[in-house]
């Protein structure tokens, strides 16, 4: 009866091999069949790598020499197309002598976006910083003040336009999506119906249709003399479109939250908006970070559809630069690889940021 309980010390799990050699043996060469398959696939990878390097580097032409480019057609890349047309692709139709303006404006905008991504800057000064940034951005881009030549919005283009459409639409769509998602769960039938109607209507049509309507149909319904800027119409179109998708993502997060959380907050005397702001949204949004970033990345690439209404952002400007030039048109692949790299760099940065934010919010979920 007098036995004293003695606990057994924990030991590491047996048979856990370590080191790269052990890993190789276990994962790639465990049987003869697996070994053959591994060798075959490895050879394929090496061959593909060598072949693409031949094309991309060894046989490639790097300067804008049309003759040399035509000589290596099919065997080597012509990166000269980028030095020749790169500026037009990146800047679109914006007047060439004024290119310094979109460069500064876009750098400023991206700088503020990066700043806003860092939690340590999430304070009351941030909205003010945004307002100042947007003011400077539009003065710089639009001109007409301070001796800057006026540049019409339909002249804006290339990468600055891509960035602007993405950043503004995201910033507007995100809060709108939150309100719509909350509205769909509201106790008030009118608000609930309105939000449901909005989401179902917008989700039911392709973005191209929305842009087309915003650009060509809307002016027909406007009274005589009232003209809304094409850029504004497009921004509103993209915002409404992505907000509908994002609202459903946010609603998913709201639904995942146990009912007890809102009940507990209510018993503490917090008002509806206090409960949403301090209890519901921080938790609901944290659970849907990957899906929200999914929508953002989709939005970033969907901006290329504004070509339909004659705005030439990055992808559109590429077409603009090469379609009209028969000499350089054959080297479209290289140009597309160039903008692929730009798109990829930004999408990858966004997805890494999403992972980082996910990690951060996980702090409160430690067990």
């Amino acid at each position: 009866m007098n036995t004293v309980f003695k606990s057994i010390d924990a030991r590491p799990m047996p048979g856990r091999s370590s080191g790269p050699l052990a890993w190789l043996r276990a994962n790639l060469f465990s049987t003869i069949g697996n070994s053959l398959l591994s060798v075959f696939l490895l050879a394929l990878v090496v061959w593909a790598f060598v072949a693409s390097m031949d094309w991309a580097l060894l046989n490639a032409v790097f300067n804008a020499n049309l003759q040399a480019c035509n000589d290596v057609r099919g065997a080597g890349a012509c990166w000269g197309v980028i030095s020749e047309k790169g500026r037009l692709i990146v800047m679109g139709r914006y007047p060439e002598t004024e290119h310094w303006r979109p460069v500064i404006a876009t750098a400023l905008m991206l700088g503020v976006v990066v700043l806003s991504c860092m939690p340590r800057f999430w304070n009351k000064a941030l909205p003010a910083i945004w307002i100042v940034m947007l003011a400077i951005y539009f003065v710089l881009m639009k001109g007409g003040f301070f001796g800057l030549t006026a540049v019409d919005t339909d002249q804006w283009g290339g990468f600055p336009l891509t960035v602007m459409l993405t950043v503004i639409s995201m910033t507007l769509a995100f809060p709108l999506a939150i309100f719509v998602a909350l509205g769909r769960r509201s106790n008030m039938p009118a608000i609930r119906t309105l939000c449901t109607l909005y989401v179902e209507l917008i989700r039911g049509v392709p973005l191209i249709t929305v842009l087309f309507m915003a650009s060509f149909m809307l002016p027909l319904f406007m009274p005589e003399g009232v003209k809304i800027d094409v850029l504004l119409r497009v921004v509103v179109g993209i915002t409404l479109f992505s907000a509908a998708y994002m609202a459903e993502v946010v609603r998913g997060g709201l639904q995942a939250l146990p009912k007890g959380q809102t009940e507990a907050a209510a018993t503490l005397g917090l008002s509806y908006w206090q409960v949403q702001r301090m209890i519901v949204l921080p938790q609901a949004l944290a659970t849907v970070v990957p899906s929200i970033m999914n929508t953002f990345i989709g939005l970033f690439k969907d901006t290329s559809l504004v070509t339909i209404v004659s705005l030439y952002e990055l992808t559109g400007a590429l077409g603009l630069a090469l379609n009209s030039d028969a000499d350089w048109r054959p080297f479209k692949i290289e140009a597309y690889l160039f903008i692929t790299f730009i798109y990829f760099a930004f999408c990858f940065a966004m997805s890494r940021y999403s992972l980082w934010i996910e990690d951060r919010t996980a702090v409160s979920k430690v067990r």
Binding site: E263, T267, L268, G269, L270, Q283, V363, K365, V366
Partner: protein, 251 residues
């Protein structure tokens, strides 16, 4: 006890149906609770006991009768609901702490945002409550880093930060490991000595015997029987209560 004074909480012919399925969950409930009274409510699951106490802080609405809490009739008047919620603290079976906030942040949320107390003062008061539930050393941890018993004690401290007149407990120990039930009950027993009005839905009969002034037994949305614990456990009047007690005390 104080039978001639106005009751702090009064149910008068209260009837409630669930809006979702039309189930008649509270049927002709007439109850009075005096200030400072400790009452244990028990009964089989689905008997409406949780719904009953959830009506008191307007987490549930009722369709017929009147429910008065400290002079305020609970109804459609939202101001009345706000006032009542400031006077009524609640502890849930699932704790319902906010997992994205630290223990201390959970506690000062309502004092700073609802009672508009300066942050420093709110923290001081919160630490007093944490001391009371013996959990001061975990003030800066997140709820999910604590054991179930510790979380429930934090939940009690959070409710106490509003300095409520009435405390509602909805099966506070039902989600706990057996070894943790005692630490929570100890805290609750300590609270009874403060003169606070306490209503507790629980099946901890030992707790009922030790601290309750009255035990209410419910079944099928009705109050079947109410009596001081000694009387209720020794000589239940109805066959339904006898049957219930024989099942929960029988092993």
């Amino acid at each position: 006890m104080t039978s001639n004074a106005t009751p702090l909480i009064e149910f008068k012919g209260v009837n409630k149906w669930y809006a979702s399925n039309g189930y008649h969950v509270l049927r002709d409930v007439n109850l009075q609770f005096a200030k400072g009274e400790k009452v244990v409510i028990c009964g089989p699951s689905g008997s409406g006991k949780s719904t009953l106490i959830r009506c008191i802080n307007a987490l549930e609405e009722y369709q017929e009768g009147t429910l008065t809490v400290d002079g305020t009739v609970l109804g459609d008047d939202l101001k009345g609901i706000d006032k009542v919620r400031r006077e009524v603290g609640m502890v849930f079976q699932q704790f319902n702490l906010f997992p994205h906030l630290t223990v201390l942040e959970n506690l000062i949320l309502s004092p700073t945002w609802v009672a508009k107390m300066p942050r420093k003062e709110a923290i001081e008061k919160a630490m007093v409550q944490l001391e009371r539930v013996r959990i001061v050393e975990h003030a800066h941890k997140y709820p999910l880093q604590l054991s179930g018993g510790q979380q429930q004690r934090v939940a009690i401290a959070r409710a106490l930060c509003l300095t409520p007149k009435i405390m509602l407990f909805d099966e506070p120990t039902s989600a706990l490991d057996p070894e943790m039930i005692k630490e929570v009950l100890d805290v609750m027993i300590e609270l009874t000595s403060q003169g606070m009005t306490m209503l507790c839905v629980t099946h901890e009969m030992g707790f009922a015997k030790a601290v309750a002034d009255r035990v209410i037994f419910m079944d099928q949305g009705q109050v079947v029987e109410q009596a001081p614990p000694q009387q209720f456990f020794d000589s239940p009047q109805t066959d339904r209560a006898q049957d219930f007690l024989s099942k929960i005390l029988g092993h």
